[in-house]
């Protein structure tokens, strides 16, 4: 029984990561320099926050097309609600009606995010760094790119997920958040409102993807659609790299996690990279058949057109028909 081998986490010994300024900047490194994740590559200045004011907003004391306001000063009112400046910035009237409040330009430092060598620059916009990563395969993802600090929640129950998002000490804005085994559309909406950079989850209903696609929101699922548990291997690995700067590549179904060279297995010990193997007793398999859909177990017996799989939970054995399983390594 020939079966493909799925490798959820793979090592990438040589890859290139592009780091991009939001606007043109000044480089602080040169080609060939070795950088670590918290090393600065350079900096630029731009307005990093923008507040669109609601319809019916009436500014206070705005006699010119734009005006500077200090933080916490009154900007105006919308339906009797007073709106104060959330930061130092400029209130501007926009063409076609309406107002925006733009934060003052601030210095933005572009961090390397990876361990590697600066390979090349594209003008004053982006740098290419040669590095190494461990990649987690996403079973499905929206086709967007994002990067940010990885926040790993400890698989909270459904009722606690929103609370985790809202009360995360440092705020989840700009972060890539592993939210748990399963996520509902309400939690995804909240994460989107709180400006998370991307969301990672074990499984989700189809409608979560509809929302994410509609709002260009990066989301990746590790196991499949429905209510499936994130595999122990993935969860443990994510927990071990929590707060690291990571790269979500939706187009490639990958979450790239930068690592040090010494974190990779020595090249000599890397086993043969077989994509297909004949199924044998003792192999670990992922099941794609109800009621064990998404779970992993160990092959107990190989039959003619099915296998018997032993699960660690309760030590039960179930028959799984060929081809509703994969070998997992």
């Amino acid at each position: 029984m020939l079966v493909p081998v799925v490798k959820k986490i793979t090592e990438n010994r040589k890859c290139f990561i592009e780091r991009v300024f939001p606007v043109g900047g000044v480089w602080g490194v040169k080609e060939g320099d070795f950088v670590e994740p918290f090393n600065s590559l350079g900096d630029c200045r731009f307005s990093q926050n923008k507040l669109s004011l609601p319809d019916g907003f009436k500014p206070v004391d705005l006699k010119t097309p734009s005006k500077f306001y200090y933080v916490d000063t009154l900007l105006g009112k919308a339906k009797n609600e007073k709106i104060f400046a959330p930061y130092d910035g400029t209130l501007k009237e926009i063409e076609g009606g309406g107002f925006v409040f733009e934060e003052n330009e601030r210095k933005y430092v572009l961090l390397s995010g990876v361990w590697g060598n600066v390979k090349s620059f594209y003008e004053n916009m982006s740098a290419l760094i040669e590095t190494q990563t461990k990649d987690i395969l996403l079973a499905s993802s929206t086709k967007f790119h994002a990067s940010g600090e990885l926040v790993v929640f400890p698989n909270p129950s459904d009722v606690l997920k929103t609370s985790y998002l809202e009360n995360f000490v440092k705020g989840i804005k700009g972060k890539i958040v592993y939210i748990g085994d399963y996520v509902s559309v309400d939690v995804v909406k909240r994460a989107y409102e709180l400006e998370a950079s991307a969301l990672l989850v074990g499984s989700a209903h189809n409608e979560v993807f509809d929302f994410a696609k509609e709002h260009n929101f990066p989301i990746g699922i590790f196991c499949g659609f429905g209510r499936l548990k994130t595999s122990e291997e993935i969860y443990k690995f994510l927990s071990s790299v929590s707060y690291r700067y990571v790269f979500f590549e939706g187009e490639n179904n990958l979450l790239r996690i930068p690592v040090r060279v010494e974190d990779l297995n020595p090249e000599k010990e890397v086993s043969e990279n077989a994509v297909f193997k004949n199924i044998e007793q003792g192999m670990t398999v992922q099941i794609l058949q109800d009621p064990h859909f998404g779970q992993t177990g160990v092959v107990d017996t190989v039959g003619e057109s099915s296998i018997f799989v032993r699960f660690s939970v309760d030590n039960i054995i179930a028959e799984v028909r060929y081809p509703n399983f994969f070998i997992v390594e």
Binding site: P4, L138, L254, F276, F326
Partner: protein, 343 residues
Amino acid sequence: MSLITAHFDVSGVSFLIKKDKKSTEILNFPYVYSKGLFSNQCDESDFYSKLLEKIMIDRGIKPSTCNIVTCGFIEPPNLNIKTKLSVGVVDLIEKADEIIPVFVNNSALITKGYISSKSDIREYVGAEKSESDFGEFNDIANAAIFPQLVPSDVSSQISVDTEVYGRIPKNLKFESGRKIIFTGGRFSQNILDKELNYILALDMLRGLGVFNIYLDTSNFFSLYRATQLYDKEMVGDLFEYIEDSGLFIRTGGACECLLSTGVGDDKFIEIEENKVFVLPLKVENPAKVSIKSRDLGTIDLRATGGRIGLVFDTRASGSGSIYSDVKLFNDCIKQFESVLKGN
């Protein structure tokens, strides 16, 4: 020189392997490339090239001495290995003269002159999504990640087959007396309840008359035709690896049948309208069969039967699907199950 012909479908790959001119091996590999599963290891070309290499190595075939022919739905993928011939399944179907192939997989239905593709899933599940529909939507979404999935229960398989039924073109009609081969990924999948294959085949027949039905569970039709295009001498009889299921008779109303096997046990059968009746028959010497119905008139023929035998369908033309009539569906399941267990 060895030869491997590969047929690439949406849920699996089938192979015709000839180590030499005399030997023939048919192999079904029920998996396909999926980005969400293998993109961190290889791309599609690499995946299938490695699969072919593995098959050659396991059989002691040297890649340098093996000719590769590929065919597939709708076209075969590009490989990193040099191929002698690559052909799409539509070309193979259109060039079939003596038989009518009906190719069915999870994405399309193809027969001579028709290609009917997948319908909108919202139309299929229903525009209004309710909590209970999540399961069905998730199944469809999971099928995109795990395209090789075979439903593990009857109701899921019925959902898949009902969707296939929905793809049948309205003006499709088969000519009475023709040999019809049901082929493609749907029939090569290792489904749990084999009787559903025959219900689907019966439900897909259009037009009244007597049809010789063949069930291709290894995509042998495509493998055979593609190999034949490359080298006619490499293949023998098309029906050697295709199951002869028997005669499926669509009368359009009540009918009478006289079956004479010549061993003194003649049978006279009356079948009322809106029924499906399965009469097991598999004999070496052709039996005489006389069928009489209002729409067909009287038909006399000789038949050896097949894996199933004779299947009478007295439903009126334009009547709905078997899947929508629970009583008829259960009756069909019982009859086909009984014949398959008896064989």
